[in-house]
């Protein structure tokens, strides 16, 4: 099993009122100097079998079709190195 991470963020031009609400709360909590906050979503997919180009292409397709609404959101797909996969690589 390998982990593939899909990060989904609102496009820069789309207003993110949740991020703004978080940003506005920061000075009240004593955290100064944060000019902007944007809030997104992270999906962790445990993929069976090897994560080769074909598997990554399928994750890309599912992210584009389902996990992100590409009208308002951008997404990135990456393989996350976990201890387990490192062990497997070493063995």
């Amino acid at each position: 099993m390998a982990r593939v991470v899909v990060d989904v963020m609102l496009k820069p031009e789309i207003l993110d009122p949740q991020g703004q609400a978080v940003q506005r709360a920061l000075p009240r909590l004593g955290f100064e100097g944060i000019a902007d906050v944007r809030q997104g979503k992270r999906f962790e997919l445990e993929v069976e079998g090897p994560v080769d180009d074909a598997a990554l292409a399928r994750v890309h397709e599912l992210a584009e079709k389902f996990l992100a609404n590409t009208v308002i959101e951008d997404f990135t797909v990456r393989i996350e190195e976990t201890e387990q996969t490192e062990e497997a690589a070493a063995a």
Partner: protein, 226 residues
């Protein structure tokens, strides 16, 4: 022969019974449709009701868009069947790409519930022929993610083609671009809006009966098409 208008119930739909009642009060035959059933049971039109389909997980309407019933609704909508999406139903129509753009979190972050005045900008769609252009109607509005967004090119195209069907009058309740409350597809058979006409069909329970026109419009459109 009575005209059959189907109302889809997804897990989490809240306003399906109100929509069925609105169809009956308008003089149509209401038909309950189930999200897992591909069959539309010979209905002449479909209403996607308000609520929180599949818990609104992922994004509002994103999971409902891939339900078995929507496969058939999308196919029939493209073939010209009248489809009305109200609130969560509007979100489902945008996620289905039957309507352009998307609905995002209200700009002030609060869930809002109030009687809302709308201006009818297009009285020629399948769901608005019983109104007149420029007419103002008041129906309830209740949503947390009702901000309509699309890129400027899409917005300009919607305006130029008369596909902005309803606009908010007075204060914009959710930050919708250009005060847009509802839009249609190019053919005018698919309409989506955030406010709730199905809650304004009886004076006992609604602020007005202004919402009834949606359902009588569709019934007349369908009779005329026969």
């Amino acid at each position: 022969m009575t005209t059959r208008i189907g109302v889809v119930t997804f897990p989490g739909s809240l306003d399906d019974q109100d929509a069925l009642r609105a169809v009956r009060l308008a003089g149509g035959e209401p038909v309950s449709l189930w999200h897992r059933d591909k069959d539309l049971h010979q209905v002449d039109a479909v209403v996607l009701p308000g609520g929180f389909s599949y818990g609104d997980y992922l994004r509002c309407g994103a999971i409902a868009r891939f339900s078995p019933v929507m496969e058939t609704v999308i196919e029939q909508a493209r073939a010209g069947m009248p489809v009305l999406g109200i609130c969560n139903g509007f979100q489902v129509l945008c996620e289905s790409h039957l309507l352009p753009g998307a609905l995002t979190r209200n700009d002030h972050l609060h869930f809002i519930c109030r009687d809302q005045t709308l201006r009818v900008e297009n009285a020629t769609t399948a769901w608005t022929t019983d109104y007149s252009q420029g007419q103002e109607i008041t129906v309830p509005l209740k949503n947390g993610e009702g901000g309509y967004v699309a890129d400027w090119r899409t917005l300009d195209a919607l305006e130029a083609e008369g596909r902005v069907v309803f606009r908010y009058v007075g204060t914009n309740p959710n930050g919708s671009r250009r005060d847009i409350a509802g839009i249609s597809n190019e053919a005018g058979n698919v309409v989506g809006l955030m406010p709730h006409p199905e809650h304004a069909v009886e004076t006992l329970t609604g602020p007005t009966t202004d919402g009834l026109g949606f359902f009588t419009s569709a019934l007349k459109t369908l009779v005329d098409a026969r």
